[in-house]
Symmetry: C2
Subunit: 317 residues, 2 copies
């Protein structure tokens, strides 16, 4: 939360702010040149680099009343690292772009930076550099680009699912959406762990390389909802993903606090960063939940029935 009366960016210089917020950033052996020059230089022993980018925008992706700067920093890192994991990769470094109105407090920037640094440190990821730009008052956004590598595993794309494969997820579903709905209802005490998950999602990133080693034929992270992201795999692979309600029920039961919305959270809840993958029968790794199978056709179905809509569109009315 923004403390009342804190000093704002209007009362500091860019260089002072950079010196403050870039003071204690995680690094790693592969970083040959880190923060503070025109560019960073990262050693890439595997000979190839994975790269992805994702952003969070105040008022769209978070509200200051509900999420602290530290939580925003944590979340935007996790979103990016989950995309690297979803290819089978392991993240190595990030660069950060903060675009903020001059009414933003220095305290908030410092908290953001600590959230980014802590989330990176937890996964042995270096913060390689950053950029700071001013924006109109009230506007604030953070973009991260993450780099990663494939450690003796193949890249797992979206287009390799085959008829007969098992559809599986690496973790529970719908927790972030459930937490958001509880916040919207003002009902944060009912299931505080779901509200916490919305604010500070935890992604089981090691499941990405694990799936690649196990022979996953396709993989994504669930950032826009199971049905919507599943449809992307279905379209890219030219198959249908048929979800099984009996297999999904334990995941739904986990959201009992949501009552009749629990199914909707599991099927359409975004920002979850659980991995969704397809595996040859018998190859689903330990810790993954089978939730359906790959069949002929297109789209995503539940017990054979079509699912409408099903997820987050940035520009939908």
């Amino acid at each position: 939360m923004i403390p009342a009366g804190g000093r704002t960016l209007a009362e500091t210089s860019e260089e002072e702010l950079l010196a403050t917020i870039f003071a204690t950033l995680p690094t790693r052996n592969e970083v040959m040149i880190g923060v503070g020059d025109d560019t960073a230089l990262l050693r890439v022993p595997t000979g190839s680099v994975l790269v992805t980018t994702d952003s969070m925008v105040l008022g769209r992706d978070w509200l200051d009343a509900w999420s602290s700067g530290h939580e925003v920093g944590h979340k935007v890192v996790v979103q990016n690292l989950a995309d690297i994991a979803a290819m089978g990769g392991t993240s190595t470094g990030v660069v950060v772009s903060l675009i903020a109105g001059r009414d933003t407090t220095i305290e908030w920037c410092r908290a953001l930076n600590e959230g980014i640094a802590d989330a990176c440190r937890a996964e042995n990821v270096a913060v390689l550099g950053g950029d700071l730009s001013s924006a109109p008052d009230g506007v604030r956004m953070v973009s991260i680009t993450a780099l990663g590598e494939l450690r003796d595993v193949p890249a797992v794309r979206r287009d390799g699912a085959r008829v007969g494969d098992v559809v599986a997820v690496s973790d529970l579903l719908g927790r972030s959406d459930a937490g958001l709905r509880l916040l919207q209802r003002g009902d944060v005490d009912h299931a505080p762990e779901l509200v916490d998950f919305h604010r500070r999602p935890v992604a089981r990133l090691a499941a990405g390389p694990q799936a690649a080693r196990a022979g996953a034929t396709s993989m994504m992270d669930v950032s826009d909802g199971l049905v919507r992201d599943g449809r992307r795999i279905a379209t890219a692979s030219g198959v249908r993903l048929d979800l099984d309600s009996a297999l999904l029920r334990p995941l739904v039961n986990h959201l009992i606090a949501l009552g009749e919305d629990a199914w909707s959270c599991v099927l359409t809840g975004g920002e979850e960063h659980t991995l969704l993958a397809t595996f040859p029968r018998g190859k689903v790794p330990d810790g993954w939940y089978p939730i359906g199978e790959v069949v002929e056709g297109g789209d995503v179905t539940l017990d054979g029935r079509a699912q409408q809509g099903g997820g987050w569109d940035h520009f939908a009315g």
Copy 2:
């Protein structure tokens, strides 16, 4: 410029927009996986990767009345590629993050994308991926992260300038600032080439690797102004850069259209992306302009006299 009555992002879906704007993007042999999956995968034959990020924000870094979407796309790419060149590197790929209000027209997004694609294509740089987020109406910003490599040259940092070195720049100075001042005066016909340069800066990027090969001891690109960026080299290297007004005069004369503001443009004009470097005496490469020398002390001086301020601060009042 935004055409009146164009369809806006509110009238499209994210996937339709992505399909439209990511239709024709430049690639290169090293791109193993490009746009359209969770991450891209880029081969890195040199075993290390340079990475940098820079953004442009509507109302701060451009006005729609003065710059088209194509020009904004061109400029944000050049800004990033210049940072890679300023380490001695050659750019290989970029990822793009567009954060835009739903009032943004699809036409503007398409023009932005073409500007990005054209600027990348001209330098054999691949567009590796992108991210699209919505923002409040009236808000629009583009962040780019560029990747690059060092082709048989060392990285040139900011901290290697030594007493006795020659200070030199790879190209003219102050053109972007001069063009901006002419736009602000409503005097665009007086020196249209300067206005063009402000809208669509041209950076001699090959000068970066050239300088590294020639043994440059420090290098930056002039993005915030000669004095301000020079001070960064001076501080990092523990030296003073003493600029010589006689050597700078031909660069000032080039801005004769600016009258008495010409000196100020040359000394403090940002967004120029000319490279500023120091070289051992006798090692200044062809095409570079010597403009001073490295002496004992700190800061940047002109004919031995201190220079106040001298450049762009994102958060200065």
